[in-house]
C-alpha cells in the first residue's frame, strides 16, 4: 500500500459548491466505508475512520475538481487515514499486518468496482429470504441490537447466536454468488 498524501485529480482553481459535498458524499459513502471496513473490520474503528475521512474531505473539498471521480478521491483519502491509523497503533492486536494489508489493497478496488452488482443481487436475495432470518438481520443491523443483547434477550449463548448469524451470512453470500453467476453480470 503506497503511502501518499491524497490529492484530487483537479487543479483546485475552481471552488466547488460545498452544498454538493453532501450529495456526492452520500452517493459514495458506501464505497468508502466498504474500503475502510476491508482494512479495519472492527465496525467501531471503521466508523471512526469513516468520520475522520469525511471530515478531512469536507475540509479539503476545495481540492476536489467537479466532474472527477469523487469516490476514487474518497478511497484515496481513506487509504491515507488507514495507513496513519496503522502507524500510530503499532501494538494494536486488531491491526492486520503489513503484508496482509498489501494483499487486501491489491484486490480492494476491484472488489469495490463490482460491489454494485453484488448489492443488487443482495437485495434480491434478502427479498427471497425467510422471515426468521430477515428478522434476525433486522434486529441485529437496523435495530442495532448487539449479539450479546440478542443472546441475553432470549437466554441463549452468544456463541450459538454467532453460529446462527454466520449461517445466515453464508446463505446470503451463496445466494448472491448464484445470482451473479446466473446473470453473468460482470
Amino acid at each position: 500500500m503506497n503511502e501518499k498524501y491524497p490529492q484530487s485529480s483537479g487543479n483546485g482553481c475552481e471552488k466547488s459548491n460545498k452544498d454538493d459535498f453532501i450529495s456526492l458524499f452520500l452517493s459514495n459513502q458506501r464505497r468508502i466505508f466498504t474500503f475502510i471496513l476491508m482494512f479495519v473490520p472492527n465496525r467501531s474503528d471503521a466508523e471512526d475512520l469513516m468520520q475522520e475521512t469525511a471530515s478531512w474531505m469536507w475540509k479539503n473539498f476545495d481540492e476536489y475538481k467537479p466532474g472527477t471521480n469523487f469516490g476514487a478521491w474518497g478511497v484515496q483519502v481513506a487509504r491515507y487515514k488507514i495507513l496513519k491509523l496503522h502507524n500510530r497503533t503499532q501494538s494494536s492486536r486488531l491491526k492486520f499486518g503489513g503484508d496482509l494489508v498489501d494483499l487486501i489493497d491489491a484486490k480492494a478496488e476491484h472488489t469495490l468496482d463490482s460491489a454494485s452488482y453484488k448489492i443488487h443481487a443482495l437485495r434480491k436475495c434478502l427479498s427471497g429470504m425467510n422471515e426468521q432470518n430477515r428478522r434476525l438481520l433486522y434486529l441485529r443491523y437496523e435495530e442495532g441490537l448487539t449479539p450479546q443483547k440478542l443472546a441475553q434477550m432470549v437466554d441463549r449463548p452468544v456463541h450459538g447466536l454467532y453460529k446462527t448469524m454466520a449461517r445466515i451470512h453464508k446463505m446470503l453470500l451463496r445466494c448472491v454468488r448464484q445470482k451473479l453467476i446466473a446473470e453473468g453480470d460482470e
Binding site: I104, S114, I119, L122, R134, Y141, R167, I168, L173
Partner: protein
C-alpha cells in the same frame, strides 16, 4: 475456496466486526487471509455485503410484514433462533474429532515407567508430529463439509486411495477431491444435476451446485432444479442454463465445452463471477478456452459421440484410463463405447457409410482421403504400391515399402468384422459370419474388430485422441491380426502392417494353412508419434479370400499422476 469452508471464517469476521474477537481468533483470521487467496476473496465479498447492510439506505431488511422491534417479543425471537438452529444444515467438523483424540491421547499418557531408547525417540518424533498437527489445526480454521451429492453409479471404476467417498452411504461432501483413475463414475447432486466422469479425471466438489475439474472429461445433465450448475477449470468456467453438455480440460487449463441440449455459457478464467470474456453456446456448438484463459473466437461443432453420456450397460473393451478401442473409433465413437455398430468407411472417398454393402469389389487408386466426420481418424486409402510412394497421412508421410497390389478391395473398412462368400457374379453375399482368430469370435463387445479386407488402409490421429483424453499417455498399440479361421480357400496370401508416422513398426505375411494365419502385434507408441496406420495388402496373389482383420485393436494407456 468454496463457500462452505467459510462457516468459521464467517464467525471470525462477524466477531471482528463486533469487536469481540479474541487475540487467538484474530491471529487465525489474519493467518487464513494471508495464506489462502480464496479465503481473502471471500472475506472481501463478505465485508462488502456487511458494509451494504450496515450503511442505511443500501438494502432494506424490513417490510410491512416484518419486523418492528415492538412486534417481536422474546418468545418470537427465541422461536426464530430455535427454528434457525433446527433447520440449519448439518456441518461436519472432522478435524475437531481428531484434535480431541489427540488431546485425549496426550492426557492419558501421564505415568512414569521405564522405556527403551528406541521407544523414547519414537515418542519424541510422535510428539513433534502431534504438535505440528495441533499447530496446523489451530492456525487453519476448521473446514466444514456438507453432503451434497451421491456416487450413484460406476463402471470399472478405480479410485485413487485418497478418494473421499463415504463407504457406507456413497455420499459425497463439499471440499472433497475425487480422483478417478480408471472407468466411469456417475455422480448425482441433491439438486438432481448429474455428471458422468470419464477417467482419468480429478474433480473437487466445491458446492452444492459447483465442481472444479482439475483435468479430465465429463458429461453433465442439468435439470431445471439445478440451473446455474458450474464447472470450473484452471482457465475457464462453464455455467449451465438447464441443459446437457460435456467438458474436457487438461491440467494446464485448456478447456472445451460441447453443448448437446439447451444452452451454456463458457467464460474465460476460473472465476465464475469475474471474467473477461464470454461465449454463449447452444445445442450443437462447442467452444474452447486456452490455458491463459483466452476464449477462442472460433465456434466449433459439438461432438456428442466423444463424450460418454450414460454409464455403459455392459462391459466394454475400451476402458477409460486403461485402453482405447480403435474399433469403436471406426464406429464414430471415442474409443470407450460411444460408437455405432456396423459403420463402414469407404477407402476410396473417406465417406462414412451407415449401410454396409456386403459384397462390393471396388478398384482404388492410391489417393489418401480424409474422413471429416470422424475426428480421430486422419484418413483412409487403398494401398497400390509400386507406382508412386503411398501417402498414408494428411501430413504427407509415405509408406515406401508398400508392396504392389491389384488395387482392389472387397468391403469397406468397418467395425463389423464379418466375412462372406459371394454368389455368382458377386451379386449375393452368402454365409455371412463373424470372423475368428484362434477360436475367438470377434465383433463382440469384449472382442471388437476392424475388418480390413486386403488392400485397405486407415490412419488414426494420435494427437487428436490424446487431446480428447487429458491426463493420459498412449503407451502401446496392441492387436491380434491375421486371416479369419474361417477362410475357405487354401494358400491365400496377405500382408498386414502397422506404421507410425509412415514408418513400418511391424508387419506380417500370412499364407493360409502354410503359416500360422494370425499373430499378435505390439508396437510401442512414443509421445511424439502423431499417426498410427493399419494396412492390409493382398500378399501378391490378389485379394480373393483375404479375410483379414485386426482383432481387439487397442491403444494401451498410462494415467499421469494427479497432483494431490
Amino acid at each position: 475456496m468454496p463457500l462452505d469452508r467459510h462457516i468459521e471464517l464467517d464467525e471470525l469476521i462477524l466477531k471482528e466486526i463486533d469487536g469481540v474477537i479474541t487475540d487467538q481468533e484474530f491471529a487465525e483470521l489474519s493467518d487464513c487471509l494471508r495464506h489462502d487467496p480464496e479465503a481473502l476473496n471471500y472475506y472481501l465479498d463478505f465485508v462488502t455485503l456487511c458494509a451494504a447492510i450496515l450503511k442505511p439506505g443500501e438494502v432494506t431488511l424490513s417490510d410491512d410484514s416484518c419486523c418492528s422491534i415492538e412486534d417481536i417479543g422474546q418468545s418470537a425471537l427465541w422461536m426464530a433462533l430455535a427454528e434457525n438452529e433446527r433447520t440449519a444444515e448439518t456441518i461436519h467438523l472432522e478435524k475437531e474429532d481428531s484434535l480431541s483424540q489427540i488431546e485425549t491421547q496426550i492426557s492419558v499418557s501421564n505415568h512414569r515407567q521405564s522405556v527403551s531408547r528406541v521407544a523414547l525417540y519414537t515418542a519424541i518424533f510422535s510428539t513433534a508430529a502431534l504438535l505440528l498437527m495441533i499447530a496446523f489445526v489451530v492456525t487453519h480454521p476448521r473446514q466444514s463439509r456438507d453432503a451434497v451429492a451421491i456416487l450413484s453409479g460406476s463402471s470399472k471404476a478405480v479410485w485413487s486411495d485418497a478418494a473421499d467417498i463415504s463407504r457406507e452411504s456413497n455420499r459425497l461432501y463439499t471440499h472433497s477431491t475425487l480422483s478417478l483413475l480408471e472407468g466411469f463414475a456417475e455422480i448425482t447432486f441433491d439438486n438432481q444435476a448429474k455428471i458422468i466422469l470419464q477417467s482419468p479425471a480429478q474433480i473437487d466438489i466445491e458446492d452444492f451446485n459447483q465442481i472444479f475439474l482439475h483435468s479430465g472429461k465429463l458429461s453433465a445433465v442439468v435439470p431445471p432444479s439445478a440451473v446455474g450448475f458450474v464447472v470450473r477449470t484452471a482457465a475457464a468456467t462453464v455455467v449451465d442454463y438447464g441443459t446437457e453438455f460435456g467438458v474436457t480440460a487438461d491440467a494446464a487449463g485448456h478447456t472445451e465445452a460441447h453443448v448437446f441440449e439447451g444452452k451454456v455459457e463458457l467464460r474465460s478464467g476460473s472465476d465464475p463471477i469475474r471474467f473477461a470474456g464470454i461465449m454463449k453456446l447452444t445445442k450443437g456448438l462447442a467452444g474452447r478456452v486456452s490455458e491463459t484463459g483466452e476464449l477462442s473466437t472460433e465456434l466449433m461443432l459439438a461432438q456428442p459421440s466423444s463424450y460418454v453420456r450414460r454409464l455403459p450397460a455392459k462391459p466394454t473393451f475400451g476402458q477409460p484410463g486403461k485402453r482405447i478401442d480403435l474399433a469403436d473409433i471406426v464406429g464414430g465413437g471415442n474409443g470407450f463405447g460411444t460408437g455405432k455398430d456396423c459403420v463402414g468407411i469407404e477407402p476410396i472417398s473417406g465417406k462414412v457409410l451407415k449401410d454396409l454393402v456386403m459384397i462390393n469389389r471396388k478398384l482404388g487408386y492410391s489417393h489418401y482421403f480424409p474422413v471429416p466426420e470422424m475426428p480421430y481418424i486422419d484418413g483412409v486409402f487403398v494401398p497400390l504400391g509400386g507406382h508412386a510412394p503411398q501417402i498414408v497421412t494428411s501430413q504427407g508421410h509415405t509408406f515406401d515399402q508398400c508392396p504392389i497390389t491389384d488395387g482392389c478391395y472387397w468391403i469397406e473398412i468397418t467395425n463389423n468384422p464379418i466375412a462372406s462368400i459371394s454368389g455368382n457374379s458377386g451379386g449375393q453375399a452368402l454365409d455371412v459370419h463373424l470372423v475368428r482368430l484362434g477360436g475367438i469370435q470377434f465383433g463382440m463387445p469384449l472382442h471388437p474388430g476392424i475388418m480390413m479386407h486386403s488392400n485397405t488402409g486407415i490412419t488414426f490421429d494420435l494427437d487428436a485422441i490424446r487431446a480428447s483424453i487429458p491426463g493420459v499417455k498412449i503407451r502401446r498399440f496392441r492387436t491380434m491380426c491375421g486371416m479369419s479361421d474361417t477362410v475357405i480357400q487354401q494358400n491365400v496370401q496377405a500382408d498386414m502392417w502397422v506404421l507410425v508416422d509412415g514408418q513400418k513398426r511391424q508387419g506380417a505375411h500370412f499364407i493360409y494353412n502354410q503359416t500360422c494365419h494370425y499373430t499378435q502385434m505390439d508396437v510401442e507408441i512414443h509421445e511424439q508419434d502423431r499417426f498410427l496406420t493399419l494396412i492390409s495388402t493382398d500378399g501378391g496373389d490378389g485379394n480373393g479370400g483375404d479375410w483379414t482383420f485386426f482383432g481387439d485393436p487397442a491403444l494401451e494407456l498410462e494415467t499421469n499422476n494427479f497432483q494431490q
